[in-house]
Amino acid sequence: MVSTQNLRGKVAIVGVFDTEVGVVANRTPMELCVEAALGAVADAGLELSQVDGLITCNAMAQPMLYHAEAVAEYLQIFPRYCMAVGAGGGTTFSIIHHAASAIATGMADVIVVSMGDSLRSGLSRDQALLVQSSTGHPEFEQPYGPTVPAYYALIAQAHMSEYGTTAEQFAQIAVSGRAHASRNPTAQMREPITVADVLASRMIADPLHLLDCSLVSDGGSAIVLTSAERARDMGAPPIYLLGAGEGHSHEHISQARSLTTSAAREAGERAYRMAGLGPQDMDFAQLYDCFTPTVLIELEDLGFCAKGEGGAFVESGATMPGGDLPVNTHGGLLSHCHPGNPGSMFALTETVWQLRQAAGERQVANARSALVHAQGGIMSSHTALVLGTEVN
Protein backbone atom coordinates (compact mmCIF):
# COMPACT_ATOMS: atom_id res chain seq x y z
CA MET A 1 0.00 0.00 0.00
CA VAL A 2 1.26 3.46 -0.88
CA SER A 3 1.73 5.47 2.28
CA THR A 4 -0.62 8.40 2.77
CA GLN A 5 2.50 10.30 3.91
CA ASN A 6 3.23 10.63 0.20
CA LEU A 7 0.62 13.38 -0.15
CA ARG A 8 1.85 15.47 2.76
CA GLY A 9 2.99 18.88 1.53
CA LYS A 10 3.01 17.69 -2.09
CA VAL A 11 0.41 20.17 -3.33
CA ALA A 12 -0.55 23.72 -2.50
CA ILE A 13 -3.44 26.09 -3.03
CA VAL A 14 -2.14 29.00 -5.08
CA GLY A 15 -5.31 30.82 -6.13
CA VAL A 16 -8.68 31.55 -4.51
CA PHE A 17 -11.77 33.56 -5.38
CA ASP A 18 -15.32 34.05 -4.09
CA THR A 19 -18.06 35.71 -6.13
CA GLU A 20 -20.56 38.01 -4.48
CA VAL A 21 -22.80 35.86 -2.27
CA GLY A 22 -26.32 36.11 -0.85
CA VAL A 23 -28.92 37.17 -3.40
CA VAL A 24 -27.14 37.29 -6.77
CA ALA A 25 -30.08 37.25 -9.16
CA ASN A 26 -28.13 38.56 -12.17
CA ARG A 27 -25.92 35.46 -12.48
CA THR A 28 -26.82 31.89 -13.44
CA PRO A 29 -25.07 29.03 -11.60
CA MET A 30 -22.89 28.51 -14.69
CA GLU A 31 -21.87 32.17 -14.68
CA LEU A 32 -21.08 32.05 -10.94
CA CYS A 33 -18.92 28.96 -11.51
CA VAL A 34 -17.10 30.57 -14.45
CA GLU A 35 -16.60 33.88 -12.62
CA ALA A 36 -15.12 32.02 -9.64
CA ALA A 37 -12.79 29.97 -11.86
CA LEU A 38 -11.54 33.06 -13.70
CA GLY A 39 -10.98 34.90 -10.42
CA ALA A 40 -9.01 32.04 -8.85
CA VAL A 41 -6.80 31.62 -11.93
CA ALA A 42 -6.08 35.35 -11.97
CA ASP A 43 -5.34 35.29 -8.22
CA ALA A 44 -2.75 32.57 -8.91
CA GLY A 45 -1.16 34.72 -11.60
CA LEU A 46 -1.80 32.03 -14.20
CA GLU A 47 -3.29 32.02 -17.69
CA LEU A 48 -6.37 29.92 -18.40
CA SER A 49 -4.35 28.00 -20.98
CA GLN A 50 -2.15 26.67 -18.16
CA VAL A 51 -5.12 24.92 -16.50
CA ASP A 52 -5.12 21.21 -17.37
CA GLY A 53 -7.51 19.93 -14.71
CA LEU A 54 -11.06 21.02 -13.84
CA ILE A 55 -13.44 19.86 -11.10
CA THR A 56 -16.92 21.33 -10.64
CA CYS A 57 -20.09 20.31 -8.84
CA ASN A 58 -23.45 19.96 -10.46
CA ALA A 59 -25.87 22.84 -9.81
CA MET A 60 -29.29 22.13 -8.32
CA ALA A 61 -30.69 25.21 -10.09
CA GLN A 62 -29.13 24.34 -13.48
CA PRO A 63 -28.38 20.61 -13.57
CA MET A 64 -26.36 19.18 -16.45
CA LEU A 65 -25.28 15.68 -17.35
CA TYR A 66 -21.67 16.73 -18.07
CA HIS A 67 -21.26 19.80 -15.90
CA ALA A 68 -17.47 20.12 -15.77
CA GLU A 69 -17.25 19.62 -19.52
CA ALA A 70 -19.81 22.41 -20.00
CA VAL A 71 -17.74 24.75 -17.80
CA ALA A 72 -14.56 23.84 -19.74
CA GLU A 73 -16.39 24.55 -22.98
CA TYR A 74 -17.63 27.91 -21.69
CA LEU A 75 -14.07 28.83 -20.63
CA GLN A 76 -12.64 27.35 -23.86
CA ILE A 77 -10.11 25.23 -22.00
CA PHE A 78 -9.30 21.64 -22.97
CA PRO A 79 -8.26 19.81 -19.79
CA ARG A 80 -6.83 16.29 -19.55
CA TYR A 81 -8.52 15.79 -16.17
CA CYS A 82 -12.19 16.83 -15.92
CA MET A 83 -15.06 15.77 -13.66
CA ALA A 84 -18.16 17.01 -11.89
CA VAL A 85 -19.25 15.78 -8.48
CA GLY A 86 -22.91 15.46 -7.66
CA ALA A 87 -23.07 15.63 -3.90
CA GLY A 88 -22.42 18.36 -1.36
CA GLY A 89 -20.71 18.86 1.94
CA GLY A 90 -18.16 16.12 2.50
CA THR A 91 -17.84 15.47 -1.23
CA THR A 92 -16.83 19.08 -1.81
CA PHE A 93 -13.69 18.40 0.23
CA SER A 94 -13.12 14.74 -0.63
CA ILE A 95 -12.50 15.95 -4.18
CA ILE A 96 -9.68 18.17 -2.85
CA HIS A 97 -8.18 14.91 -1.56
CA HIS A 98 -8.65 13.37 -5.02
CA ALA A 99 -7.30 16.41 -6.85
CA ALA A 100 -4.17 16.35 -4.68
CA SER A 101 -3.68 12.69 -5.58
CA ALA A 102 -4.16 13.50 -9.25
CA ILE A 103 -1.40 16.12 -9.10
CA ALA A 104 0.90 13.83 -7.11
CA THR A 105 0.45 11.05 -9.68
CA GLY A 106 0.87 13.30 -12.70
CA MET A 107 -2.71 13.19 -13.97
CA ALA A 108 -2.74 17.01 -14.06
CA ASP A 109 -0.44 19.91 -13.16
CA VAL A 110 -2.84 22.76 -12.47
CA ILE A 111 -6.34 21.89 -11.25
CA VAL A 112 -9.14 24.40 -10.81
CA VAL A 113 -11.93 23.39 -8.43
CA SER A 114 -14.87 25.70 -9.06
CA MET A 115 -18.44 25.52 -7.78
CA GLY A 116 -21.47 27.76 -8.06
CA ASP A 117 -25.22 27.51 -7.49
CA SER A 118 -28.30 29.67 -7.06
CA LEU A 119 -30.42 28.05 -4.36
CA ARG A 120 -31.80 31.45 -3.36
CA SER A 121 -32.77 32.92 -6.74
CA GLY A 122 -32.66 30.11 -9.25
CA LEU A 123 -34.77 27.17 -8.05
CA SER A 124 -38.08 26.30 -9.68
CA ARG A 125 -40.77 24.97 -7.33
CA ASP A 126 -40.06 21.40 -8.49
CA GLN A 127 -36.32 21.84 -7.96
CA ALA A 128 -36.93 23.22 -4.46
CA LEU A 129 -38.98 20.15 -3.55
CA LEU A 130 -36.23 17.97 -4.98
CA VAL A 131 -33.71 19.67 -2.69
CA GLN A 132 -35.95 18.93 0.32
CA SER A 133 -36.34 15.28 -0.63
CA SER A 134 -32.76 14.76 -1.82
CA THR A 135 -31.96 13.07 1.47
CA GLY A 136 -33.84 10.31 3.23
CA HIS A 137 -34.58 6.74 2.24
CA PRO A 138 -37.37 6.97 -0.34
CA GLU A 139 -39.10 3.79 0.87
CA PHE A 140 -38.42 3.73 4.63
CA GLU A 141 -37.80 7.36 5.73
CA GLN A 142 -39.30 9.92 3.36
CA PRO A 143 -42.93 8.72 3.74
CA TYR A 144 -42.86 9.95 7.36
CA GLY A 145 -42.25 13.53 6.19
CA PRO A 146 -38.88 14.37 7.74
CA THR A 147 -37.55 17.73 6.53
CA VAL A 148 -33.81 18.38 6.25
CA PRO A 149 -33.78 20.21 9.62
CA ALA A 150 -35.69 17.28 11.15
CA TYR A 151 -32.91 14.81 10.35
CA TYR A 152 -30.38 17.00 12.16
CA ALA A 153 -32.85 17.59 15.00
CA LEU A 154 -32.80 13.82 15.62
CA ILE A 155 -29.04 14.05 16.15
CA ALA A 156 -29.38 17.12 18.39
CA GLN A 157 -32.05 15.49 20.54
CA ALA A 158 -29.94 12.36 20.97
CA HIS A 159 -26.94 14.45 22.06
CA MET A 160 -29.11 16.36 24.55
CA SER A 161 -30.47 13.14 25.98
CA GLU A 162 -27.08 11.40 26.20
CA TYR A 163 -24.88 14.27 27.41
CA GLY A 164 -27.23 16.91 28.80
CA THR A 165 -26.42 19.37 26.02
CA THR A 166 -28.82 22.33 25.95
CA ALA A 167 -30.58 24.43 23.32
CA GLU A 168 -28.65 27.42 24.71
CA GLN A 169 -25.37 25.66 23.88
CA PHE A 170 -26.48 24.97 20.29
CA ALA A 171 -27.58 28.62 20.06
CA GLN A 172 -24.11 29.78 21.13
CA ILE A 173 -22.74 28.26 17.89
CA ALA A 174 -25.05 30.50 15.84
CA VAL A 175 -24.00 33.48 17.98
CA SER A 176 -20.33 32.67 17.39
CA GLY A 177 -20.78 32.31 13.62
CA ARG A 178 -22.56 35.65 13.47
CA ALA A 179 -19.85 37.35 15.53
CA HIS A 180 -17.29 36.24 12.93
CA ALA A 181 -19.58 37.26 10.04
CA SER A 182 -20.02 40.73 11.53
CA ARG A 183 -16.30 41.25 10.78
CA ASN A 184 -16.60 39.99 7.22
CA PRO A 185 -17.85 42.56 4.69
CA THR A 186 -18.86 39.81 2.23
CA ALA A 187 -21.11 37.85 4.64
CA GLN A 188 -24.83 37.61 3.89
CA MET A 189 -25.89 38.16 7.55
CA ARG A 190 -23.79 40.56 9.65
CA GLU A 191 -26.05 41.88 12.42
CA PRO A 192 -24.83 40.42 15.74
CA ILE A 193 -27.26 38.10 17.56
CA THR A 194 -27.58 36.74 21.10
CA VAL A 195 -28.50 33.34 22.52
CA ALA A 196 -31.87 34.86 23.44
CA ASP A 197 -32.40 35.90 19.79
CA VAL A 198 -31.76 32.34 18.63
CA LEU A 199 -34.12 30.85 21.21
CA ALA A 200 -36.79 33.43 20.36
CA SER A 201 -36.64 32.63 16.64
CA ARG A 202 -39.32 30.36 15.19
CA MET A 203 -39.05 26.66 16.08
CA ILE A 204 -38.44 24.64 12.88
CA ALA A 205 -37.91 21.09 14.19
CA ASP A 206 -37.38 20.77 17.95
CA PRO A 207 -34.82 21.61 19.31
CA LEU A 208 -33.73 23.59 16.21
CA HIS A 209 -34.88 27.19 15.84
CA LEU A 210 -34.68 29.19 12.62
CA LEU A 211 -31.35 30.72 13.65
CA ASP A 212 -29.90 27.22 14.27
CA CYS A 213 -30.32 26.62 10.52
CA SER A 214 -27.96 27.71 7.74
CA LEU A 215 -28.80 30.27 5.07
CA VAL A 216 -30.09 29.74 1.54
CA SER A 217 -27.86 31.61 -0.89
CA ASP A 218 -26.49 32.17 -4.36
CA GLY A 219 -22.74 32.18 -4.86
CA GLY A 220 -19.63 30.68 -6.39
CA SER A 221 -16.14 29.92 -5.14
CA ALA A 222 -12.99 28.41 -6.62
CA ILE A 223 -9.42 27.43 -5.82
CA VAL A 224 -6.35 26.54 -7.88
CA LEU A 225 -4.20 23.59 -6.81
CA THR A 226 -0.75 22.74 -8.12
CA SER A 227 2.37 20.91 -7.03
CA ALA A 228 4.35 22.37 -4.11
CA GLU A 229 7.36 22.61 -6.43
CA ARG A 230 5.54 24.73 -8.98
CA ALA A 231 3.76 26.73 -6.26
CA ARG A 232 7.04 28.22 -5.03
CA ASP A 233 7.40 30.23 -8.26
CA MET A 234 3.99 31.86 -8.02
CA GLY A 235 2.94 35.25 -6.73
CA ALA A 236 1.04 34.55 -3.55
CA PRO A 237 2.54 32.46 -0.73
CA PRO A 238 1.52 28.82 -1.28
CA ILE A 239 -0.81 27.26 1.28
CA TYR A 240 0.15 23.61 1.61
CA LEU A 241 -2.15 20.63 1.97
CA LEU A 242 -0.52 18.86 4.91
CA GLY A 243 -3.18 16.29 5.67
CA ALA A 244 -6.38 14.87 4.24
CA GLY A 245 -8.63 12.17 5.62
CA GLU A 246 -12.10 10.82 5.01
CA GLY A 247 -14.64 8.82 6.99
CA HIS A 248 -17.89 7.39 5.67
CA SER A 249 -20.33 5.70 8.06
CA HIS A 250 -23.81 5.61 6.53
CA GLU A 251 -26.16 7.42 4.21
CA HIS A 252 -29.52 7.32 6.02
CA ILE A 253 -29.71 8.55 9.61
CA SER A 254 -31.78 5.53 10.71
CA GLN A 255 -28.76 3.39 9.74
CA ALA A 256 -26.08 5.48 11.49
CA ARG A 257 -23.64 3.55 13.72
CA SER A 258 -24.18 6.25 16.32
CA LEU A 259 -26.31 9.38 16.46
CA THR A 260 -23.79 11.26 18.59
CA THR A 261 -20.34 10.14 17.35
CA SER A 262 -19.66 10.67 13.66
CA ALA A 263 -17.12 9.52 11.08
CA ALA A 264 -15.52 12.96 11.49
CA ARG A 265 -13.48 11.09 14.07
CA GLU A 266 -11.84 8.82 11.48
CA ALA A 267 -11.54 11.68 8.97
CA GLY A 268 -9.76 13.83 11.55
CA GLU A 269 -7.48 11.04 12.78
CA ARG A 270 -6.41 10.29 9.20
CA ALA A 271 -5.80 13.95 8.35
CA TYR A 272 -3.84 14.63 11.56
CA ARG A 273 -1.74 11.48 11.05
CA MET A 274 -0.80 12.51 7.53
CA ALA A 275 0.05 16.05 8.69
CA GLY A 276 1.98 14.89 11.74
CA LEU A 277 -0.04 17.46 13.69
CA GLY A 278 -2.88 17.30 16.20
CA PRO A 279 -5.86 19.39 17.22
CA GLN A 280 -3.70 21.31 19.69
CA ASP A 281 -1.63 22.61 16.74
CA MET A 282 -4.56 24.20 14.93
CA ASP A 283 -4.80 28.00 15.10
CA PHE A 284 -8.42 27.96 13.91
CA ALA A 285 -10.93 25.54 12.42
CA GLN A 286 -13.66 25.67 9.79
CA LEU A 287 -16.35 23.13 10.70
CA TYR A 288 -19.38 22.26 8.60
CA ASP A 289 -22.31 24.14 10.11
CA CYS A 290 -25.45 23.40 8.11
CA PHE A 291 -27.17 23.29 11.54
CA THR A 292 -25.66 24.26 14.90
CA PRO A 293 -25.50 20.72 16.41
CA THR A 294 -23.11 19.53 13.68
CA VAL A 295 -20.42 21.95 14.91
CA LEU A 296 -20.78 20.78 18.50
CA ILE A 297 -20.36 17.11 17.53
CA GLU A 298 -17.50 17.92 15.12
CA LEU A 299 -15.61 19.79 17.87
CA GLU A 300 -15.76 16.56 19.90
CA ASP A 301 -15.04 14.12 17.07
CA LEU A 302 -12.13 16.19 15.68
CA GLY A 303 -10.46 16.17 19.08
CA PHE A 304 -10.92 19.79 20.19
CA CYS A 305 -12.72 18.62 23.34
CA ALA A 306 -13.81 15.32 24.88
CA LYS A 307 -16.97 13.51 23.80
CA GLY A 308 -19.94 15.06 25.57
CA GLU A 309 -18.10 18.28 26.39
CA GLY A 310 -18.93 20.17 23.20
CA GLY A 311 -21.62 22.18 24.97
CA ALA A 312 -19.27 23.43 27.68
CA PHE A 313 -16.59 24.11 25.06
CA VAL A 314 -18.78 26.44 23.00
CA GLU A 315 -20.19 28.08 26.15
CA SER A 316 -16.62 29.03 27.12
CA GLY A 317 -16.44 31.32 24.08
CA ALA A 318 -13.51 29.38 22.60
CA THR A 319 -14.98 29.46 19.08
CA MET A 320 -15.60 33.24 19.07
CA PRO A 321 -13.35 35.86 17.46
CA GLY A 322 -10.25 36.06 19.65
CA GLY A 323 -11.07 32.72 21.33
CA ASP A 324 -8.71 29.78 21.78
CA LEU A 325 -10.07 28.13 18.62
CA PRO A 326 -11.89 30.56 16.35
CA VAL A 327 -14.38 28.50 14.31
CA ASN A 328 -15.78 29.51 10.92
CA THR A 329 -13.90 32.78 10.71
CA HIS A 330 -15.87 33.92 7.64
CA GLY A 331 -19.23 33.30 9.31
CA GLY A 332 -19.85 29.80 7.97
CA LEU A 333 -22.97 28.40 6.36
CA LEU A 334 -24.97 29.90 9.24
CA SER A 335 -24.05 33.53 8.55
CA HIS A 336 -21.72 33.90 5.53
CA CYS A 337 -23.64 31.96 2.85
CA HIS A 338 -24.89 28.50 1.88
CA PRO A 339 -25.52 27.97 -1.82
CA GLY A 340 -25.76 24.15 -1.44
CA ASN A 341 -23.04 21.95 -2.88
CA PRO A 342 -20.51 24.82 -3.14
CA GLY A 343 -21.06 25.76 0.53
CA SER A 344 -17.84 24.35 2.00
CA MET A 345 -15.68 25.99 -0.69
CA PHE A 346 -16.04 29.34 1.09
CA ALA A 347 -14.48 27.81 4.22
CA LEU A 348 -11.51 26.75 2.09
CA THR A 349 -10.95 30.13 0.41
CA GLU A 350 -11.31 31.82 3.82
CA THR A 351 -8.68 29.47 5.26
CA VAL A 352 -6.27 30.45 2.49
CA TRP A 353 -6.82 34.16 3.15
CA GLN A 354 -6.28 33.59 6.89
CA LEU A 355 -3.07 31.65 6.31
CA ARG A 356 -1.84 34.33 3.89
CA GLN A 357 -2.47 36.78 6.78
CA ALA A 358 -4.81 38.61 4.40
CA ALA A 359 -8.13 38.35 6.24
CA GLY A 360 -8.34 42.00 7.28
CA GLU A 361 -10.34 42.84 10.38
CA ARG A 362 -11.07 39.19 11.09
CA GLN A 363 -7.45 37.98 10.79
CA VAL A 364 -6.51 35.29 13.34
CA ALA A 365 -3.16 36.48 14.74
CA ASN A 366 -0.15 34.45 13.51
CA ALA A 367 -2.33 31.81 11.85
CA ARG A 368 -0.04 29.01 10.63
CA SER A 369 -2.15 25.82 10.58
CA ALA A 370 -5.86 25.11 10.29
CA LEU A 371 -8.28 22.24 10.22
CA VAL A 372 -11.00 22.45 7.59
CA HIS A 373 -13.87 19.98 7.75
CA ALA A 374 -17.00 19.25 5.75
CA GLN A 375 -19.70 16.63 5.98
CA GLY A 376 -22.54 15.58 3.77
CA GLY A 377 -25.66 13.46 3.93
CA ILE A 378 -26.85 13.46 7.54
CA MET A 379 -23.46 13.46 9.31
CA SER A 380 -22.71 10.62 6.86
CA SER A 381 -19.66 11.45 4.78
CA HIS A 382 -16.79 13.46 6.26
CA THR A 383 -13.54 14.94 4.97
CA ALA A 384 -10.95 16.77 7.07
CA LEU A 385 -8.07 18.77 5.61
CA VAL A 386 -5.07 20.21 7.42
CA LEU A 387 -3.65 23.28 5.69
CA GLY A 388 -0.53 25.16 6.65
CA THR A 389 1.95 27.83 5.64
CA GLU A 390 4.98 25.54 5.84
CA VAL A 391 5.97 21.93 5.23
CA ASN A 392 8.11 21.01 8.23
Binding site: H137, P143, G145, T147, A150, L154, Q157, S161
Partner: protein
Protein backbone atom coordinates in the same frame (compact mmCIF):
# COMPACT_ATOMS: atom_id res chain seq x y z
CA UNK B 1 -54.13 12.14 0.37
CA UNK B 2 -50.94 12.65 -1.62
CA UNK B 3 -48.27 11.82 0.90
CA UNK B 4 -44.91 10.43 -0.20
CA UNK B 5 -45.95 6.81 -0.77
CA UNK B 6 -43.37 4.05 -0.47
CA UNK B 7 -42.91 2.07 -3.68
CA UNK B 8 -42.39 -1.59 -2.73
CA UNK B 9 -39.75 -3.60 -4.58
CA UNK B 10 -39.84 -7.34 -5.26
CA UNK B 11 -37.69 -7.80 -2.14
CA UNK B 12 -39.73 -5.54 0.19
CA UNK B 13 -43.21 -6.57 -1.04
CA UNK B 14 -43.75 -9.11 1.81
CA UNK B 15 -43.05 -6.35 4.37
CA UNK B 16 -45.68 -4.04 2.89
CA UNK B 17 -48.18 -6.92 2.33
CA UNK B 18 -47.83 -7.79 6.00
CA UNK B 19 -48.31 -4.17 7.07
CA UNK B 20 -51.73 -4.32 5.41
CA UNK B 21 -52.51 -7.31 7.63
CA UNK B 22 -51.40 -5.38 10.72
CA UNK B 23 -48.22 -7.39 11.34
CA UNK B 24 -44.64 -6.02 11.36
CA UNK B 25 -42.23 -8.36 9.54
CA UNK B 26 -38.44 -8.20 9.70
CA UNK B 27 -35.82 -10.23 7.89
CA UNK B 28 -34.00 -12.69 10.16
CA UNK B 29 -30.71 -14.30 9.17
CA UNK B 30 -30.87 -18.10 9.40
CA UNK B 31 -27.10 -18.30 9.91
CA UNK B 32 -26.44 -15.80 12.72
CA UNK B 33 -29.99 -15.18 13.96
CA UNK B 34 -29.78 -11.38 13.73
CA UNK B 35 -32.74 -9.31 12.56
CA UNK B 36 -32.23 -6.45 10.12
CA UNK B 37 -34.02 -3.40 8.75
CA UNK B 38 -34.31 -2.21 5.98
CA UNK B 39 -34.65 -5.39 3.88
CA UNK B 40 -31.50 -6.47 2.02
CA UNK B 41 -30.32 -9.35 -0.16
CA UNK B 42 -27.59 -10.11 2.39
CA UNK B 43 -27.30 -10.18 6.17
CA UNK B 44 -25.74 -6.91 7.33
CA UNK B 45 -24.28 -8.70 10.40
CA UNK B 46 -22.61 -11.80 8.92
CA UNK B 47 -22.98 -11.53 5.16
CA UNK B 48 -25.20 -14.62 4.98
CA UNK B 49 -27.81 -14.89 2.26
CA UNK B 50 -30.40 -17.15 3.95
CA UNK B 51 -32.89 -14.56 5.15
CA UNK B 52 -36.45 -15.36 6.26
CA UNK B 53 -39.32 -13.00 7.02
CA UNK B 54 -40.34 -13.22 10.66
CA UNK B 55 -43.24 -11.53 12.48
CA UNK B 56 -41.89 -9.45 15.37
CA UNK B 57 -43.35 -7.90 18.53
CA UNK B 58 -43.80 -4.39 17.15
CA UNK B 59 -42.54 -3.10 20.48
CA UNK B 60 -39.60 -0.81 21.04
CA UNK B 61 -38.49 2.50 22.43
CA UNK B 62 -37.78 6.01 21.14
CA UNK B 63 -34.07 6.44 20.30
CA UNK B 64 -34.59 10.06 19.23
CA UNK B 65 -37.39 12.29 17.97
CA UNK B 66 -38.25 15.72 16.68
CA UNK B 67 -41.43 17.73 16.39
CA UNK B 68 -41.61 18.99 12.80
CA UNK B 69 -43.14 22.48 13.00
CA UNK B 70 -43.11 23.16 9.29
CA UNK B 71 -44.36 20.21 7.22
CA UNK B 72 -42.48 18.97 4.19
CA UNK B 73 -45.58 19.59 2.01
CA UNK B 74 -49.17 20.68 2.63
CA UNK B 75 -50.09 16.98 2.85
CA UNK B 76 -48.10 16.73 6.09
CA UNK B 77 -49.95 19.09 8.46
CA UNK B 78 -47.56 20.24 11.18
CA UNK B 79 -46.83 19.73 13.98
CA UNK B 80 -46.01 16.02 13.73
CA UNK B 81 -43.45 13.80 15.42
CA UNK B 82 -40.75 11.98 13.44
CA UNK B 83 -38.84 9.45 15.54
CA UNK B 84 -36.18 6.78 15.38
CA UNK B 85 -37.47 3.61 17.01
CA UNK B 86 -35.22 0.92 18.48
CA UNK B 87 -37.19 -2.31 18.03
CA UNK B 88 -36.99 -4.98 20.72
CA UNK B 89 -35.46 -7.37 18.17
CA UNK B 90 -32.51 -5.00 17.55
CA UNK B 91 -32.96 -2.97 14.37
CA UNK B 92 -33.67 0.77 14.31
CA UNK B 93 -36.26 2.31 12.00
CA UNK B 94 -37.67 5.76 11.28
CA UNK B 95 -41.38 6.26 11.88
CA UNK B 96 -44.03 8.69 13.11
CA UNK B 97 -45.29 8.85 16.67
CA UNK B 98 -49.04 9.23 16.95
CA UNK B 99 -51.56 9.20 19.80
CA UNK B 100 -49.31 11.27 22.06
CA UNK B 101 -48.96 14.95 22.94
CA UNK B 102 -45.82 15.97 21.01
CA UNK B 103 -44.36 17.86 23.99
CA UNK B 104 -44.55 14.78 26.22
CA UNK B 105 -42.37 12.56 23.99
CA UNK B 106 -39.01 11.60 25.56
CA UNK B 107 -36.02 9.52 24.48
CA UNK B 108 -36.58 6.03 25.88
CA UNK B 109 -40.39 6.20 25.73
CA UNK B 110 -41.78 2.64 25.27
CA UNK B 111 -43.81 2.41 22.07
CA UNK B 112 -45.68 -0.16 19.98
CA UNK B 113 -46.55 -0.36 16.31
CA UNK B 114 -49.87 0.53 14.78
CA UNK B 115 -50.79 0.64 11.11
CA UNK B 116 -52.44 3.43 9.15
CA UNK B 117 -53.97 2.89 5.69
CA UNK B 118 -52.61 5.47 3.24
CA UNK B 119 -53.99 3.87 0.04
CA UNK B 120 -55.55 0.61 -1.13
CA UNK B 121 -52.06 -0.90 -1.40
CA UNK B 122 -50.12 0.78 1.39
CA UNK B 123 -50.53 0.69 5.16
CA UNK B 124 -47.71 2.47 6.96
CA UNK B 125 -46.32 1.34 10.31
CA UNK B 126 -46.43 4.12 12.90
CA UNK B 127 -45.84 3.98 16.66
CA UNK B 128 -47.76 5.05 19.76
CA UNK B 129 -46.93 4.91 23.46
CA UNK B 130 -47.47 1.49 25.03
CA UNK B 131 -50.79 1.62 26.83
CA UNK B 132 -50.09 0.88 30.48
CA UNK B 133 -51.87 -2.24 31.68
CA UNK B 134 -54.20 -1.74 34.64
CA UNK B 135 -52.79 -2.53 38.09
CA UNK B 136 -54.15 -6.06 38.53
CA UNK B 137 -52.46 -7.46 35.43
CA UNK B 138 -49.03 -9.07 35.90
Amino acid sequence: MSRILPRPTALSQPYWDSCRQGVLLLQQCQECGDFQFYPRIMCSSCGGDDLHWQAVSGKGSVASYTIVRRGITADYPAPYVVALIDLQEGPRMMSSLIGVAAESVRVGLPVEVTFTDWSDEIAVPEFRPVIQASGDNP
